[in-house]
Symmetry: C2
Subunit: 212 residues, 2 copies
């Protein structure tokens, strides 16, 4: 698949995912899960803005909507980028290694592209995590008809960050640059710490408003 996932029919994407074809894989799936979370946040904003009882927070809702759309665009791009980096990595592994010079060139290429392969899911995790503060505000300030969608968005964010983290880690395991490995792992930990509590907090607010 060389064109953007966004141009392809969903059924064909899911068939390709399920197949032996190397792409799309878990990295793209994580980014798409995050993109769906962002889409839900935008939808909730769209269906809340303009309602008289939320007039006081309308400017805040517009800002949340703009941020969610920016993050959705970023996550959609990252789903494609994960495929592009995977293809580059597969090509690097196929480089010749008959001479010592060739082997060294190949190894450098693999290390450089594996680093990219760790950075793409790290950015996915960061973009998805940036949705959570938006969900927290929205959970208390949205039309009750769509409050469950805020909960779904938060649950998808958790899955995205944790899934992306696995994709970062599996690439870090193949890297020699231990400074980069440590720094990336630290950034990942920052995203993962408190994630569960933040999501649980949003879902608790959502459940409270569903029964109330």
């Amino acid at each position: 698949m060389s064109e953007s996932l966004m141009q392809q029919p969903l059924g064909a994407i899911l068939d390709a995912l399920a197949s032996r074809a190397p792409t799309p894989g878990g990295g793209s799936v994580a980014a798409l899960t995050g993109a769906m979370a962002a889409g839900l946040v935008s939808m909730v904003c769209e269906l809340t803005i303009g309602k008289p009882q939320f007039a006081e927070v309308e400017n805040e809702l517009r800002a949340i909507h703009a941020q969610a759309e920016q993050l959705r665009a970023e996550l959609q791009r990252l789903a494609d980028e994960d495929i592009a980096v995977f293809n580059r990595l597969a090509a690097a592994y196929k480089l010749p290694r008959t001479t010592e010079a060739d082997a060294a060139t190949r190894k450098t290429a693999i290390q450089q592209i594996t680093r990219l392969a760790a950075e793409v899911p790290l950015r996915t995790a960061q973009a998805a995590a940036a949705l959570l503060p938006l969900c927290t505000t929205l959970a208390n300030n949205c039309a009750r008809l769509v409050v469950s969608d805020v909960g779904v968005a938060a649950l998808l964010v958790r899955a995205t960050v944790q899934s992306a983290a696995l994709n970062v880690e599996i690439n870090l395991a193949a890297l020699e640059d231990q400074i980069f490995v440590r720094e990336t792992r630290a950034q990942l930990q920052d995203l993962l710490i408190g994630l569960g509590d933040e999501v649980d907090g949003i879902v608790t607010i959502v459940r409270g408003r569903m029964v109330g």
Copy 2:
């Protein structure tokens, strides 16, 4: 959107999700998240079957693959069904209620279709949860290159079951048939109990194999 989501370009689906358009919403998103989890399970089977070191479990892997493809087909159908039920519910709410007889007909229709609107995400949660035992087996019996994808699948299953549960609950809140409400809630609890531990267990196995 009247045709199946599967025929539509992914970008158009995400744009519609993010828009004021009432569908797709959180229910379809939950089903699609489950479908992606099933797709990852199938992919891992495809890339493991045939490898000599997994020859002993090949029959089991083939059975897992068949089940995952069945669950993926079911989850893809449920993503579309959620939209169809939503449209029927919206139509029921628009029924006339000028006479008492009309109002009674409308109320019955709304109750019947709200029940369906709870059953679709319940079936989504059930189909997604059925992937977890497959993930547990696969985590220990798959090519190491794709072990992170098993972890991603498990994380997506958790998000699907919990998201679908919110969609069940928001519909149960509008139902008068308390026997159905109690029975559905009990089925949901069965799916939710132990879910977190099962997913954490799979992710622990996955992480162990990633570093090992």
